[in-house]
């Protein structure tokens, strides 16, 4: 019973964290390729692209398959620039139990993830999540030119 209550509390916290998520504006230039945007800070392929501005408005990208769910973003253009990118959909499976078998895995711990920034020398990450994000973003931006 205690475990169930903990699970419900964790679920609420996670739910709140996810549903209040609002990604910060990202620096994406018109015409910039997905690969140059998605690359890590240590690798900086530079492409010189002519200046281009987007038409103001709110554009919704296609839902892109992130394999374990869908990613769909909405982009807000103001003054010709991207001012906000919102997640309309992201992979989640709220029905799945978050409890793990404590007996079988005594050395494991759990926490709700948080987002942080800071100076780093390198970044480790899977490329596919970002690929789905940029696919949806690119399709939203293609409506704004």
């Amino acid at each position: 019973m205690k475990k169930l209550i903990v699970a419900i509390i964790v679920g609420c916290v996670v739910g709140l964290a996810l549903f209040s998520r609002n990604i910060h504006p990202v620096s994406i230039k018109p015409n910039s390729s997905a690969s140059s945007v998605a690359s890590s800070p240590t690798a900086t392929p530079t492409t010189s692209t002519p200046a281009q501005t987007y038409k103001d408005g709110t554009y919704t990208g296609q839902s892109a398959d992130a394999y374990y769910g869908n990613v769909q973003v909405q982009v807000v253009i103001s003054g010709g620039k991207i001012t906000d990118v919102r997640f309309l959909d992201y992979p989640h499976d709220a029905g799945t139990s978050r409890m793990i078998n404590g007996q079988a895995m005594p050395l494991l711990k759990q926490e709700v993830i948080t987002a942080q920034s800071g100076n780093v020398n390198g970044v480790s990450g899977a490329s596919a999540t970002s690929q789905a994000f940029y696919n949806s973003l690119q399709s939203a931006l293609s409506q704004a030119v």
Partner: protein
């Protein structure tokens, strides 16, 4: 000194933080990766792997490098209780093993040349040595799976490999060979180990195994994992904390 190239369709970086660096060393590593790509690419029709998959080359007649990788793949499959398998629908796809192996191979080229303070990266998987730019260790951000300009953790590493597997859009790159289905429920899994080779093969296997895959990490092997499920809840090995900044 840092140089990046796009090889195997991926961003490849070599960074050496030492007072004297011979520029040729970068090309030695990049050329080694180009050779790896020529042998193992499943996208190149003339690679040995492609020729084996078309039945034009038998494994027995393949190069020493291919035999070596297939031997490591068998060993890894046993170590991970079948969750790592390079054979998928009758075709060999060693990419889940070759990437980490190539990073460690690149790092070994630097070591043999006498370098001790460096970072080697191929598309989000890395191996580091030494104290980094400020001497205290290489600070590596683990990418947040939902907020891609943020990190979930920053870790400090001195002699480690780190690899992250996540939701691969390419579909069949990682699948669960035990249940014969695609994995679900894991947004990303990062493994920190003694080398990129070890980190990558265990990250691949854990991702294929799903949420409970951390059980596959063998104790006492200096392998730690941080798994994020699709609800944003992380499960991690207790030993992972020692790396967190």
């Amino acid at each position: 000194m840092l140089k990046s190239r796009k090889i195997m369709g991926m961003a490849c970086t070599v960074r050496i933080e030492e007072p004297t660096v011979h520029p040729q060393i970068f090309d030695n590593v990049f050329n080694y990766w180009r050779r790896v790509d020529r042998i193992f690419s499943t996208y190149k029709p003339n690679s040995e792997i492609s020729r084996i998959n078309r039945g034009e080359l038998s494994v027995a007649d393949a190069s020493k490098e291919v035999q070596n990788i297939l031997r490591m793949a068998r060993e890894t499959r046993l170590l991970t209780r079948g969750y790592f398998n390079v054979v998928h629908q009758g075709k060999i796809d060693p990419s889940g093993l070759v990437k980490g192996w190539a990073i460690t191979g690149g790092a070994n080229i630097l070591r043999h040349a006498g370098y001790r303070n460096f970072l080697v990266e191929i598309a989000g998987d890395l191996e580091v040595s030494g104290g980094g730019p400020d001497g205290s260790g290489w600070k590596i951000g683990l990418r947040h799976p939902f907020e891609l300009d943020k990190y979930v953790k920053i870790v400090k590493l001195k002699k480690n490999g780190v690899a992250t597997s996540g939701a691969y859009l390419q579909g069949d790159h990682i699948y669960n060979p035990v249940a014969n289905k695609v994995p679900s429920g894991v947004a990303s899994i990062t493994v920190i180990g003694p080398s990129a080779y070890d980190a990558d093969r265990f990250a691949t296997a854990i991702y294929a195994a799903g949420k409970k895959g951390l059980k596959l990490l063998p104790g006492g092997a200096n392998l730690e994992g941080y798994l994020i499920d699709s609800n944003g809840v992380a499960t991690y090995t207790a030993g992972f904390e020692k790396y967190v900044v």
